[in-house]
Every structure is written in structure tokens, then in C-alpha cells.
Symmetry: C2
Subunit: 194 residues, 2 copies
DNA sequence: ACCTGAACACCGTTCAAGT
DNA sequence: ACCTGAACACCGTTCAAGT
């Protein structure tokens, strides 16, 4: 896929990140190619290194921005409502949307599968994403009436994050969004998710 | 890592599959290299193509065997006991063992993350693995006293498979087996898993 | 400040050639 | 039947060179 329209000079870094993000969510970090990326935005692969010295730098920048944006979205949800059920509905929708959008996965979920191959800088950012999600889930769970000790709450937050990432993973690998919906229904039937 | 001991000629195909399986569980399908694989067993990369014409053929062979072996193990569990709790304990242990063993992932879980890049033959085998697991989980859930309609049972089976794969994924990507254990405890506390 | 071509050591794959 | 070296088009990275 060559570039559709010339990329304005000043936005080259942005254009690279945007293309790269879509590519990683679709095919993973390993499959990301500087040469294809360059072709997509209309420069040479050597020039990509001017903006991102190594592939690891690009991966870390992607994961960092993804985490920042995700945190902002989640923060906004809690600002809009203190209803746990409503917040979880939105959370579930967000992860579902990635599947709908070209069978993509959460950037950090798919990179997590490649964890052992990732440069340290990328790993750090992936960890941060998990922390943001689990922390937010804890706060949402705390809105629930049911009294629970802090440890159980934390465990449930970890479990929900794992369960949602897992549902996304298996739905994607079967090319079947219905699998995501089925898993989520069962999560809610058992009240793992409020 | 060069070969430790010379590989007997007749077992070359086996040696390749064994090395490749460990490599994929650790680093994924994309990161699997015919050249490194060849070095590990003491032949040239061109020779690997004699045993497996393409990388896709190797991947499909790996996933096929993995599914067959997994199915046999699960079958054996149900033959040993009709207690759902005991069967699920073993199931949870199996997926945990991969993490303990060099932070590896389920072969089909990690390949699922790379699904869009996989040759069709590999995809088919990954689907088969999911089917085997979900089918087995349905049978185990059916052992439970609680009366449930078939649809709910199937959904719960899908959910457990997704939840376990997800717990493995996030534990691996945080390099922390405790995350797996935490998620599983919450799955059981909510009775998602018997 | 931003881009380039050429080189390097990697990759999967093919193929004619060896035993 | 099983292996090989050489070639091909790919990959990330480096660097001297251009504007």
C-alpha cells in the first residue's frame, strides 16, 4: 500500500506513529517493517530512523501514547458516572471495538504475547498499560456495594483485565467476535464482571 | 546456541519439531528462524526445507501435534476422575506449568496473537486446539450438579478457555506468575471456574 | 532539520548439485 | 533419501552524503 496523499512534512512523526500503531494492532510488533512503514508515508526506510532511532524506540513511543490515551479515556468514564455497571459496559465496548475494527487487538495485549522479544523500553510501557487498567478496575469495583477486603478486590481487578484480554485473544484467533460476546456474557453471569 | 550433541539422522524431523516448539512457545511464530533452528540441530537452513517445505508447514505440524497431545492429556484426566473440581485443578496446573517453564505460553495462545499473519494451514490447527479445549471444558462443566441449559454451559466453557489464556498472557507479559494465580483465585471465587 | 543510497548481517525460499 | 552452497528478495541498522 503506497501513500494515498503526500504526508505534510511537519506531521511525519505523527503519520509514522499512526501507521505503525495500526500495523502492530493488526500483525504484532515483530511483523512491523520499517520499509513498509516508510513506503506507506512516502519516505525511505533509512529516514524512519531519523524520527525513531530503533524499532524499539518506535514500539516504546507507541505503547506510551497508547497508555496515555487509554488512561484519559478511562478517567473520563469515571468522571461521567459512578455506576460500576455502566463503567464496565463501556470498558467491554472499548475492547470489543478493536475486534470490530479489522480484527485488531489491544496494542499492549498483542505486544504482551511477544514479551520475551521486546526491547526493555517497550516492556516498561506495556507494564504501565496493565497497571493503568488494573488500577482503574479496582476503583470501579470499589464503587460496588458488596463489602470486600482489598486483596480480593485487587485480585478481581487483575482477573477482569486478564479475562477481557483473553476473550479478545481467542475471538481474534477464531475470527469470530461472537466468542468475545459469549465469554463476556459468562463473565457477567458469574459476576466476575459487575 | 549451537547443537550440544549430534542429532541422530533418523530423528532429524523430531529434533526440528522439538526445538521449534520450544522456540515458538518462548518467542512466537514470527520470531522462529530456520537458520537458528538449523544451527541448533546441526544442519544447514536449506536442509530444514527438506523436512518442512515452508515455515507454514512446520507451524502447522507443531500446532497439530500440540493439539493431539493436549487432547490425549485431557482425555486421560476425564478417564481418571469424574470430579469437575479435580479436573479443573489439573487444567489450571497445565497452563501454569508453561509459565514456570521459562515463561512460555500455550503454543496456540501465542500463535493466536499472530493470527492474521499465519498461513491458512496453521490457522486450521489453532482452531482445532480451541475446539478441543472448549469441548473438554463443556464435558467437565456437565459433571457439575448445578442444572444449566446447554447454551450457558457452552458460553461458560468458552469463557474459561479465554480467561485461562488471558491469565497466562498477562502473567507472561509481566514476568510474574503471581498474576496468573491471582486471576485464577478470582475466577474460582466467582465460580466462573468450578 | 530532514532525507537519501549504499552497505552490512540478518530472514525464508528456491534450485541445481552433491552423496 | 538427505544435505549443501549460492542466489533471490526481504529485514533493521549505520553512515557518509546531500539539501
Amino acid at each position: 500500500m503506497p501513500q494515498k496523499t503526500a504526508v505534510p512534512k511537519a506531521d511525519m512523526r505523527e503519520a509514522l506513529m499512526s501507521e505503525a500503531r495500526a500495523a502492530v494492532q493488526a500483525h504484532g510488533y515483530n511483523a512491523l517493517s520499517f520499509r513498509e512503514l516508510a513506503k506507506a508515508v512516502g519516505i525511505k526506510s533509512a529516514s524512519v530512523h531519523y524520527h525513531f532511532p530503533t524499532k524499539g524506540d518506535l514500539g516504546a513511543a507507541l505503547a506510551h501514547r497508547y497508555t496515555q490515551e487509554g488512561a484519559a479515556v478511562l478517567e473520563d468514564l469515571l468522571a461521567q458516572s459512578r455506576d460500576a455497571r455502566w463503567c464496565m459496559d463501556r470498558y467491554i465496548e472499548i475492547f470489543r471495538a478493536a475486534l470490530v475494527n479489522d480484527n485488531r487487538m489491544c496494542l499492549c495485549g498483542i505486544m504482551g504475547a511477544e514479551y520475551d522479544d521486546l526491547p526493555p523500553g517497550v516492556r516498561t510501557e506495556i507494564d504501565a498499560f496493565a497497571q493503568v487498567n488494573i488500577g482503574w478496575l479496582e476503583r470501579v469495583l470499589a464503587l460496588t456495594k458488596s463489602k470486600r477486603d482489598k486483596t480480593a478486590l485487587k485480585e478481581q481487578a487483575v482477573a477482569i483485565y486478564a479475562a477481557i484480554e483473553g476473550a479478545q485473544l481467542i475471538a481474534r484467533s477464531r475470527g469470530d467476535i461472537a466468542a468475545y460476546d459469549q465469554a463476556v456474557r459468562a463473565y457477567r453471569a458469574t459476576r466476575l464482571i459487575p
